[in-house]
């Protein structure tokens, strides 16, 4: 009873709270980093250096009026934000934060496929949110979103297949263990795959430069134009939780998950003294920083360029990478 029900439930509770708190601070981090990139200070008023802004923002969102447009499809309108947030949180049930079972909720043998398939459910939130609003711009945005997500999902999934070929396992714990045994992070074994997964991850989380579904300059806010208050913030939570998921997947697949860097340099062995989960979370935040950095740097793609990039560049490279990996795997 303790091991099968109570402990997992406690872990889930801690994990969910940690992710949601991380998301609120991620919003603050985004505002700060973009401000620095633009030579501004960012939020400075609430608390020292604006740290309490992370708490002020959610309070504001909770207190705002929650409006359902009169002509909206009420049930679907309510369901859409939930459908986009729940998959983003469910994924964390297989993310390993450390080597022993204490650090993850479950290690299933199809872990990676589980992550891909559950995140692919998240697109419904965006599509249905746009449709149920019964409004022009959200509908356009959700059509864009569904086309974009499907296209990039193909590229990302194909790329992950080539990584699976290298590891021979789908379990996320197994993938990190394979990197520990090989003594080499897969970022150096599969650099092309890393680029593809990262670009695809940007597109799948609707982040700049692929944030077409919520391009405010042309779609007045995109699929969540008609949403307000807490429902709007659920969409926001989902987007940021998905960013954390993509970063976690990239770290697990390519940057050794919880492993400390430089295991082969004896002078740096003191790095192993840092707990594994701190390495993992640190690496995740490094990638979150890159996400924000890219948003502050690159302009948005045009829609046809975006689809062209997905279908004509990323998917062919992904197939090529898969073929080369297969040949090398057999030859070596």
């Amino acid at each position: 009873m303790m091991d099968t029900v109570v402990v997992p439930l406690l872990k889930i509770a801690v994990l969910l709270n940690a992710v949601l708190v991380a998301v609120t601070f991620l919003v603050l981090m985004e505002r700060k980093v973009i401000a620095w990139a633009q030579s501004r200070l960012g939020p400075m008023r609430v608390g020292p250096y604006g740290i309490l802004q992370a708490i002020a923002d959610p309070i504001k969102l909770i207190l705002k009026e929650d409006i359902t447009p009169a002509r909206a499809d009420k049930y679907v309108f309510t369901l859409a934000p939930i459908m986009s947030l729940v998959p983003a949180l469910v994924v964390f049930s297989v993310v390993p934060f450390g080597p022993d079972p204490f650090y993850y909720v479950s290690d299933i043998n199809v872990g990676l496929l589980f992550v891909i398939s559950v995140t692919s459910i998240g697109v419904y939130g965006i599509i249905l949110g746009g449709w149920a609003s019964n409004s022009k711009y959200p509908l356009l945005a959700s059509l864009r979103a569904s086309a974009q997500l499907i296209s990039y999902e193909i590229a990302v999934t194909m790329t992950l297949v080539s990584v699976i070929l290298t590891t021979g396992t789908l379990s996320l714990v197994g993938i990190v263990e394979a990197q520990r045994e090989g003594g080499l992070w897969f970022a150096f074994v599969q650099p092309v795959a890393l680029m593809l997964v990262f670009i695809g991850g940007l597109a799948e989380t609707n982040r700049a430069p692929f944030d077409l579904p919520e391009a405010e300059t042309e779609l007045t806010g995109g699929f969540h134009t008609e949403y307000s208050g807490m429902r709007f913030s659920l969409f926001f939570l989902a987007e940021y939780a998905n960013m954390i998921v993509i970063s976690a997947v990239v770290v697990i697949m390519f940057f050794g998950g919880w492993l400390a860097p430089f295991p082969n340099v004896p002078a740096l062995s003191f790095l192993g003294l840092v707990p594994a989960w701190i390495w993992f979370i640190g690496k995740i935040f490094l990638f979150l920083y890159v996400f924000i950095w890219i948003r502050a740097t690159l302009p948005r793609y045009r829609y046809d360029q975006l689809m062209g990039l997905g279908w004509k560049v990323l998917i062919p490279i992904a197939i090529g990478n898969l073929v080369v990996t297969g040949i090398l795997k057999v030859a070596l």
């Binding site: 199809v110 496929l113 398939s117 692919s120 997500l149 499907i150 999902e153």
Partner: protein, 183 residues
């Protein structure tokens, strides 16, 4: 006992959702019921210790194909059904006959296969027992279902597998040819 309860709950829900799919007024609601239906079928696969099939069910059907359905439904935007189909008493005889034929077929398969089939025998027929991975898969959460499936697909069922992939490739090329006016 617990398994039976879960199974029957799922079965009732899946059938109920199936009825909702064909009876919902709005096409988008239909598609939504279909998604939930697929997700519950995936749970059934998990109960059968077929995690790989379950995850693929979610990835391909719920996450891919139904998204395309939604895409199409939203593009053609079926606000109102055409008058021809609006009469609830109207019976589509072709559809009824086809559905009846499929039902008969399913019943026939179930009756025919339940006669001679111990579960162990079907496993032997799949060849899973002969794979190099037959010995692992003790715990409920960790089974070698994926490895076994891959092994069987690439050994005993290699030719059907390749034929199916050729079929899909041809379909893909056909779609591209149809979509492009001039190549």
């Amino acid at each position: 006992m617990a398994e039976a309860i879960v199974f029957w709950t799922l079965a009732v829900l899946i059938l109920g959702l199936g009825i909702m799919v064909i009876s919902a007024r709005s096409a988008v609601h239909s598609v939504l019921f279909l998604v939930v239906n697929f997700l519950l079928v995936a749970v059934l696969y998990v109960m059968l210790n077929a995690e790989f099939v379950a995850v693929i069910q979610v990835l391909v059907y719920a996450g891919g194909i139904v998204v395309l359905y939604l895409f199409v439904v939203m593009l053609v935007s079926l606000k109102k059904a055409p008058e021809r189909y609006a009469d609830p008493r109207r019976v589509a005889w072709t559809g009824t006959l086809l559905a009846g034929a499929v039902l008969l077929e399913v019943v026939a398969i179930v009756v025919a296969s339940s006669g001679g089939g111990e579960p162990a025998a079907t496993e032997g027929a799949l060849g899973a027992a002969d794979t190099p991975f037959a010995e692992c898969g003790a715990g409920p959460l960790v089974s070698c279902n994926t490895e076994q499936l891959g092994w069987v697909l690439y050994t005993s069922y290699l030719i059907p597998f390749e034929v199916a992939s050729m079929l899909l490739l041809v379909a893909m090329i056909g779609a591209i040819v149809l979509a492009k006016r001039h190549l």
